[in-house]
């Protein structure tokens, strides 16, 4: 047998059970020697390392197929088992079939007429609805199992019992006990079943007769499947499978000897059981009921089933998912000075990743330079492929100059990646399509990947040590696809709900606020500095203030970048509390109005430029002026926002959350009043006159009421504290504009932490009637149940600190549980939906072309272009056409 390179098309795959004859037919050697190597270290013939099982050493020629290690596919051998053993994998089916057929005559326990009719029906079903045929044979099996007297020979059926893992016992009328059936008996019963009955039970008698589920011959896999490892000391270490096979051979030979010698039945039975154990663990070492076979070191052996099963098994670990070339992974860090479309790649990485580039007369000079630079100098090249397909590794080329000279059109140079190449950038978990986006490479010094801050939300990335992966597409098609479909700019609008997912965040929002707020007036120098940071040259408008100095407002500067036909109006984030504005008649500058490309009033903040905001200023810009415009806007205007922060200096300090003594007293007074109210409720509860919430017990009603009062108290404390804060206090600016934090966070820092909860209840577990021994038993008061009067500024008392930790722990546990649950949910969803696609006629189909939906989503709308499922925003269109009220 030689391996020929004949090409054939696989039209069908059929699974069956290997028959003993088939195993013998494909076997090249019978294994019966318990020794594997002789004194010279040569493999013993007829052992599990027999050379006939395939060439494994380089230079060695296979005695069976005559190929060397490269061409030899490996060959199977076999073991003739002295006595048959059950194949664990099929134990359930063996048990079912045994129950469905007569113990005496081996016929299916149904009337002959039913069998004939059923078979006809079964064959017809199998042609048209195979899924129904399977159900039908299940039904037949169930009916046959129920029958207690054989309709063919009238034999009364004894009861069968399956004792896990692999013992089948039969009830004996005479001894009134269960007697174990040995594999020989089981096999002879299965042999008796006629082919027709087998077929009706759902087997294909040609491919898998039921008696083949009992092993009489065991195939020995080729050595290539279980290679031995050489340790430096020259000691051979065998694969787990080989160990197991040796065990099987050894037991088998011993069993054979004993049978020939006519040993007593007990000894034979013992050995038989041992053989069964070895064969079982060889097939699956995690069968419940069997102690797993162990390595000398105590590690459980990895046998056949373990190689295939689970996340790191052959299917999920090596076939569905593979490790790939042309990829890199390292820590990420921010760089606000690159475009959102770019990724910063370190020089070291750039020298490992390559792109194959065909030599043409237009790029030959450039590629020559790359070749001369070689693999260790960027921008160089790692390989040169000649037109006859030879790969030259530049690491080992002495004279790169002459090789560069010999370059000609038709050569392919695998050159280092350089600025302008496209790369795919990914962060796990890849939960949605924006988790892998196309970025333009920008080679930078340093050792991290650099990305623009605005692309953090789609990747859900931060810089506390996150790592990301980079892949370099290798074909022209892949690169074109990445450039035209995957680039970041095409993912500013998320297909989840059609809103912007890439936009301003954190400092960008603070900066936008500071630039556009009324008090910001800029001199000509300031304006020029800002514009240069945006990288543009523009003619300045007339200054807002002419005398005594020419001063511009921040709104004027932002307006320079808004298209002249753009109109927008909407609320700002700061529109809350006493700065609330509902309409254009707004004194507080918290209603944004853009007319004909001029920002007339309102400050830009999270509601206007933030990521994940609906119907915002930035959203309409993206939607109406396109992705290219949006990229430009982010790369210029957003940079300006950062610059103004740098100019002014923006930070947060302890003083920002300090409140005057007067405010403190006010808060304490207010809290005391609330505590009094709580005490009143507690007193009412103790007396039993508390008003009960419908459907709740008195205890629950009390808890609800107390939580209500205390939450209200915390909010009031927050209001008091915030009222005393300077509106241009940096912490407060961040909370108001939505850049970071919220009023609750400020309250907790400045005024009071409020009630701590675990599972939505006040903290009460711990000791009997009290969470901590510092309190009296059955104290229902706020302090004893986790209300924290102090703020982070004033500091927590020891008991308060404990309560806070209890509440904080719950949050941590919740996140841990949620991530694992959502991960598994994601896996199930992907398995269900992975090969659905939208056909050109807008139907949704699966891989077989069957229709799942007649119109995508039953409305044909692309959610990325139809915000929240609504294909058009009528209000916006009307406004654009007739203009908003003047």
């Amino acid at each position: 047998m030689t391996v020929t390179e004949e090409e054939k098309i696989v039209s069908m795959i059929k699974f069956g059970i290997l028959s003993p004859e088939e195993i013998r037919k494909m076997s090249v050697v019978e294994v019966k020697s318990t020794e594997t190597y002789d004194e010279d270290g040569l493999p013993v013939p007829h052992s599990v390392m027999d050379p006939h099982l395939g060439a494994i050493d380089p230079g060695h020629i296979c005695p069976v197929c005559g190929n060397s290690i490269k061409g030899c596919p490996g060959h199977f051998g076999h073991i003739e088992l002295a006595l048959p053993v059950i194949n664990v994998i099929f134990i359930k089916y063996i048990y079912d079939v045994l129950r469905a057929v007569c113990a005496n005559c081996g016929r299916l326990k149904l009337p002959q007429k039913d069998i004939e009719r059923g078979l006809k029906y079964y064959r017809k079903l199998n042609e048209r609805h195979p899924y129904l045929a399977r159900r039908f044979s299940e039904y037949i099996k169930k009916r046959a199992i129920k029958t207690t007297v054989c309709p063919h020979c009238g034999y009364k059926q004894p009861k069968l019992k399956l004792t896990k893992p692999i013992t089948i016992e039969e009830y004996n009328e005479e001894t009134r006990s269960y007697i174990r059936l040995n594999p020989l008996v089981i096999r002879s019963r299965l042999e008796k079943i006629p082919n027709e009955d087998v077929e009706l039970l759902g087997f294909d008698p040609q491919e898998s007769r039921p008696e083949w589920m009992i092993l009489t011959v065991l195939p020995i896999p080729p050595i290539a499947i279980r290679p031995s490892i050489m340790i430096e000391t020259g000691i051979r270490s065998e694969d787990d499978l080989t160990h197991k096979l040796v065990d099987i051979v050894r037991t088998n030979e011993r069993l054979k000897e004993h049978i020939v010698a006519g040993a007593p039945q007990i000894i034979i039975d013992d050995l038989w059981e041992l053989l069964q154990y070895h064969v079982t663990t060889y097939l699956d070492n995690e069968v419940p009921g069997f102690p797993p076979a162990k390595h000398r070191s105590g590690r459980p052996l990895k046998t056949l089933a373990q190689r295939l099963k689970g996340k790191e098994g052959r299917f999920r670990g090596n076939l569905s998912g593979k490790r790939v070339d042309f990829s890199a992974r390292t820590v990420i860090s921010p760089d606000p000075y690159i475009s959102i479309n770019e990724v910063g790649v370190s020089v070291e990485v750039a020298m490992k990743l390559t792109v194959p580039e065909k030599v043409t007369e237009w790029n030959i000079e450039e590629l020559r330079k790359c070749v001369i630079n070689g693999p260790y100098k960027w921008p160089g090249a790692n390989y040169v492929v000649t037109p006859d397909g030879r790969r030259i590794d530049l690491r080992y080329v002495k004279d790169r100059k002459s090789l560069a000279e010999s370059l000609a059109p038709g050569y392919i140079v695998e050159r280092h990646i350089r600025n302008g190449d496209i790369a795919l950038f990914n962060r796990q978990p890849s939960l949605h399509r924006m988790s892998i986006m196309g970025h333009i490479v920008k080679v930078l010094p340093g050792r991290t990947f650099r990305l623009h801050l605005a692309v953090c939300p789609p990747y859900n990335a931060d810089f506390d040590g996150d790592e990301m992966n980079l892949h370099i597409p290798q074909t022209e098609d892949a690169r074109a696809e990445a450039r035209e479909l995957l680039k970041v700019q095409y993912h500013i609008l998320t297909p989840r709900y059609g809103g912007v997912i890439i936009g301003g965040l954190q400092d960008y929002i603070s900066g936008a606020y500071l630039l556009t707020v009324k008090t910001t007036l800029l001199t000509k120098e300031d304006v020029m500095e800002l514009l240069s940071s945006a990288g543009v040259v523009k003619e300045l408008p007339e200054p807002a203030i002419l005398s005594p100095r020419e001063l511009w407002t921040g709104k004027q500067i932002v307006s320079l970048f808004i298209p002249p036909d753009f109109n927008y109006h909407g609320k700002a984030s700061i529109s809350a509390g006493h700065l609330k504005c509902e309409d254009i008649e707004c004194f507080w500058d918290s209603y944004v109005v853009v007319r004909t490309g001029k920002l007339l009033m309102g400050v830009l903040d999270k509601k206007s430029i933030g990521a994940e905001q609906q119907d915002s200023f930035f959203y309409f810009l993206v939607k109406e002026y396109g992705a290219d415009f949006a990229v430009n806007f982010i790369d210029s205007v957003f940079r300006m926002f950062i610059r103004i922060l740098e100019k002014k200096g923006f930070t947060l300090r302890l003083d920002d959350v300090a409140i005057p003594e007067k405010a403190k007293n006010e808060i304490i007074q207010m809290l005391m009043e609330s505590f009094k109210k709580v005490q009143e409720y507690v007193d009412q509860y103790v007396k039993g006159v508390l008003e009960v919430v419908p459907g709740r017990t008195a205890e629950e009603s009390l808890e609800i009421k107390i939580l209500e009062i205390l939450a209200e108290a915390r909010d009031k404390a927050g209001e008091i504290a915030v009222g005393y804060l300077d509106p241009f206090n940096h912490a407060f600016i961040m909370a108001r504009t939505g850049a970071r934090g919220n009023v609750l966070n400020l309250t907790q820092m400045a005024a009071t932490l409020g009630q701590m909860t675990v599972r939505g209840e006040r903290i009460w577990r711990g000791y009997m009637g009290r969470p901590l021994p510092h309190f009296s038993v059955n104290d229902l008061g706020p302090i004893a149940r986790g209300f924290i009067v102090n703020s982070f500024y004033s500091g927590l008392s020891p008991t308060e600190m404990f309560m806070h930790a209890a509440g904080g722990r719950e949050g941590l546990v919740d996140t841990a549980v949620r991530t694992s649950q959502s991960g598994y949910m994601q896996r199930r969803l992907i398995n269900a939906l992975m090969d659905l696609y939208v056909e050109y006629d807008y139907t949704v189909r699966d891989s077989s072309g069957s229709i799942i939906q007649f119109l995508y989503g039953e409305d044909g709308a692309d959610p990325a272009k139809a915000p929240h499922g609504k294909p058009i925003n009528v209000e916006r269109i009307v406004e654009r056409v007739i203009g908003w009220k003047l």
């Binding site: 129904l132 139907t843 077989s848 072309g849 069957s850 229709i851 007649f854």
Partner: protein, 85 residues
């Protein structure tokens, strides 16, 4: 609830406001549908012959059922089901 097999109850489900309009299509129309989508009958979504609605309109295995559903936006969508045993 007392229900009688094949009687008015099975007809009544067709009158419920949440049950969209189902009808068995003619052979000719059925072939047109298959041609329109370029598929074999078993590539359509399936409906079991013992589905209450299928029984109510008297659909038999091998038939194609046309379902006209209202969409939340006021439109109508026509979908087809292949009746299987």
């Amino acid at each position: 609830m007392v229900s009688k097999r094949g009687s008015s109850v099975s007809q009544k489900i067709l009158e419920h406001e949440l049950v969209p309009k189902h009808e068995v299509v003619s052979l000719k129309e059925g072939l047109e549908v298959l041609k329109k989508y370029g598929i074999k009958p078993d590539q359509l979504p399936w409906i079991k012959a013992n589905d209450p609605v299928a029984k109510a309109i008297g659909a038999k295995p091998g038939d194609i059922v046309k379902v006209v559903r209202k969409t939340p936006w006021g439109g109508e969508i026509v979908v087809y089901r292949y009746v299987v045993p």
